[in-house]
């Protein structure tokens, strides 16, 4: 169950990416996870909830973009309709050996950060309108 360590690292990478933006909360994170990454999406979601609990980012959504591994025949192209978890040894059309493509992704893609603007001053200035 190394998903805990991965979730911690995802949170660290996200916090690093918003450092310097002032106070605010991460609302949503998108990560790419591949079929060959040795990550179980459900375990990762569970771990994400655990590592963000009681932090500013508690409740942040973790959106997992799942990347299948493609089996590709050099002559006939990708093999369609492979059932999840099964692998073909040879190309169903020409009988030649197949190659694997993709599915090793484990990447933090992007996030949505809700920055807290300063409260309006006593003079009733609109925040964000003063010149720097």
């Amino acid at each position: 169950m190394h998903e805990m360590g991965i979730a911690l690292e995802i949170h660290r990478v996200c916090r690093e990416a918003v450092a310097g933006r002032g106070p605010g909360r991460i609302e949503k994170v998108r990560v790419a996870v591949g079929e060959l990454s040795a990550i179980e999406p459900d375990l990762l979601r569970f771990a994400w909830e655990a590592v963000t609990r009681e932090t500013t980012d508690e409740g942040a959504a973790l959106e997992i973009e799942w990347h299948r591994t493609e089996q590709v025949c050099p002559s006939c192209g990708p093999v369609p309709d492979r059932a999840p978890g099964t692998w073909l040894r040879l190309c169903p059309s020409c009988g030649g050996p197949l190659e694997l493509r993709g599915g090793t992704e484990l990447e933090v893609l992007d996030l949505v950060f809700a920055a807290e603007d300063d409260p309006p001053g006593p003079g009733g200035d609109e925040p964000g309108e003063e010149s720097a």
């Binding site: 169950m1 991965i6 996200c14």
Partner: protein, 236 residues
């Protein structure tokens, strides 16, 4: 946050693009280790299997055969005990135990620290026996030249397809305990095919640490990989 909104604060939503590996911190240290191993000319193998597949026993047989010819060192990852490193040291080869305290895999920083503490002499081959687990070690680069995935006959011939991540990455796949083949319905050719499906470049070897079958062939693969590394050639 609703309280902030009550206080009259406004919230601005920003989209922040990141595109960074979730393993970047581990990979950075692994890269440092890899540079160090390259400068030292040390071939480094990361051995991954389920608990009890025969990693330590194969290492015992390996160091018996290679210790007079090559300078060897072993890092032994284990959840709780010191036993594996003692088995290697008993053969006169330096070994350091890494007790992970429950963690299911080794990480590059832990390996870096263990190497500092071990103070190995200059090595031709460093073996890193990972914690017994076919899943969690898959993602973690330890600066090794390549991973070795092992599966023993009693575990069954479906293992490569059940754990495709590690067999996709390993450059040597080892079937261990082949002396037990008569007692199990385990099809060696099927494993060979499944390994080739996941990684056509991977080398395949079947060994028994009990009878010694295949252990010389395994040692030859290690000599080949070491020679390739010293000459700066890719292997296999």
């Amino acid at each position: 946050m609703s309280s902030d909104e009550r206080d009259g604060r406004r919230v601005t939503r920003d989209f922040v693009r990141i595109r960074k590996s979730a393993l970047a911190a581990n990979d950075r240290v692994a890269g440092e280790l890899r540079d160090r191993f390259r400068d030292a000319g040390t071939l480094v193998l990361n051995l991954v299997s389920a608990p009890g597949s025969g990693k330590t026993t194969l290492l015992e047989q390996t160091v018996r055969r290679l210790r007079d010819e090559l300078s060897l060192g072993v890092l032994e990852g284990d959840v709780a005990t010191e036993l594996d490193a003692e088995r290697i040291r008993a053969l006169g080869v330096p070994a350091r135990q890494i007790v992970t305290g429950g963690a299911c895999h080794l990480e590059s920083r832990i390996v870096r620290r263990a190497l500092e503490e071990a103070e190995f002499p200059p090595l031709d081959i460093l073996f890193i026996e990972n914690v017994g687990n076919l899943v969690c070690p898959t993602s973690y680069d330890l600066g090794e030249d390549f991973k070795v995935a092992l599966v023993s006959v009693p575990e069954g011939d479906d293992k490569p397809f059940k754990y495709p991540g590690i067999f996709r990455r390993a450059l040597i796949a080892v079937v261990t305990k082949v002396d037990l083949l008569p007692h199990f319905s385990f099809d060696l050719d099927r494993v060979r095919e499944r390994v080739a499906t996941l990684n056509p470049a991977a080398r395949f070897v079947a060994v028994s640490s009990t009878t010694g079958e295949g252990v010389d062939a395994w040692c030859d693969l290690l000599r080949e990989a070491l020679a390739a590394k010293r000459e700066g050639r890719p292997w296999p």
